[in-house]
Symmetry: C2
Subunit: 192 residues, 2 copies
């Protein structure tokens, strides 16, 4: 997606350790007008899919998912990273390893909000090794809901996550795929 | 706000320990069409305020804030609950006690995203004792930005947070104020 690539070139920063900082518009400060354009693009790409729910994971997926959900006119469910007293015992859960925080945590979704009638689009800000998305797919499978596809803002194409999802037959639409990053030069290459 | 009160009456549940469960539309599953109506209402209430940024706190404030920000046509910044390797060292921070999770955590905002030029609307899902909002106000004050007001979806009017903010002169607009809850009867009373 041209507009997102422009934002990344103009406002992103390549850091050591394969970190792409996009916190000025994607995941700390959030440009909701960009998110609305991303929503239109995913709506175009998934026009034929009977999506009735969007699933994401806290925290940085939530803002994108909610703006995108307005385009689809469906509710959002976000997977929570730890058990809270406000969640009933009846949950689906999965374990996820965080690239950013270097630890494993449980993600949970209340059983009330995913059922076999649901057709789910997964939305997240980043796809690298795919741990978060795979955790969400585990939860969707456990619920009996149908996975319609996965929409990712920025895929790190030099990591395994995207390749493995496509090999499994998951319909994956990443709006920008970064195939190479060079922290010393501050440069990056997008997949055409 | 009539529509939000209707949602709470129809879909909320009053639980022991002053817990109001609204997870089917506000903070686990999220009804983005409701959020858009809430955005219109806050835009009406803050029509005269020169708001150029919305500040919220992860995780459950983010979805509301992003949909509301579309109405205001401004970016959102969310305060993060712990230091992440993706955040530079330059942050404002404050300590917040969580009612839901029964613990104290640090919230941080990158200095890049709050400056003395900013006129900030704080948005959150709940106001009870006011710890989260007060933490955000501390951060706004530290940055030199101007606090234009606070928009809360549901205020627990029988707890201190709202009263103390109003006493300090903060412009607080809660869209629903619950003055009493009875878990045994499953009933609640809204402030008129």
């Amino acid at each position: 997606m041209e507009l997102l690539e422009e934002y990344i070139r103009r406002n992103g920063a390549v850091k050591e350790g394969n970190v792409l900082k996009v916190d000025s518009f994607l995941n700390h400060q959030m440009d909701v007008q960009l998110f609305a354009e991303m929503g239109k693009e995913w709506k175009r790409l998934f026009a034929d899919a009977p999506i009735n729910k969007i699933l994401t994971i806290e925290a940085s997926g939530i803002g994108i998912a909610c703006v995108v959900a307005q385009e689809f006119q469906v509710p959002v469910v976000f997977a929570k990273k730890s058990q809270s007293i406000n969640i009933d015992g009846e949950v689906y859960s999965s374990k996820v390893q965080s690239f950013t925080h270097k630890r494993v945590y449980d993600v949970i979704v209340s059983r009330k909000f995913l059922t076999p009638e649901d057709h789910v689009l997964v939305i997240d800000d980043f796809l690298a090794n795919g741990c978060a998305v795979n955790g969400l797919i585990d939860i969707i499978e456990a619920s009996g809901a149908t996975l319609e596809g996965v929409g990712i803002a920025i895929e790190k194409g030099f990591q395994e996550g995207g390749k493995l999802l496509r090999k499994r037959g998951v319909r994956l639409e990443s709006l920008a795929i970064v195939d190479a990053m060079d922290a010393a030069k501050g440069s990056l290459t997008f997949r055409q």
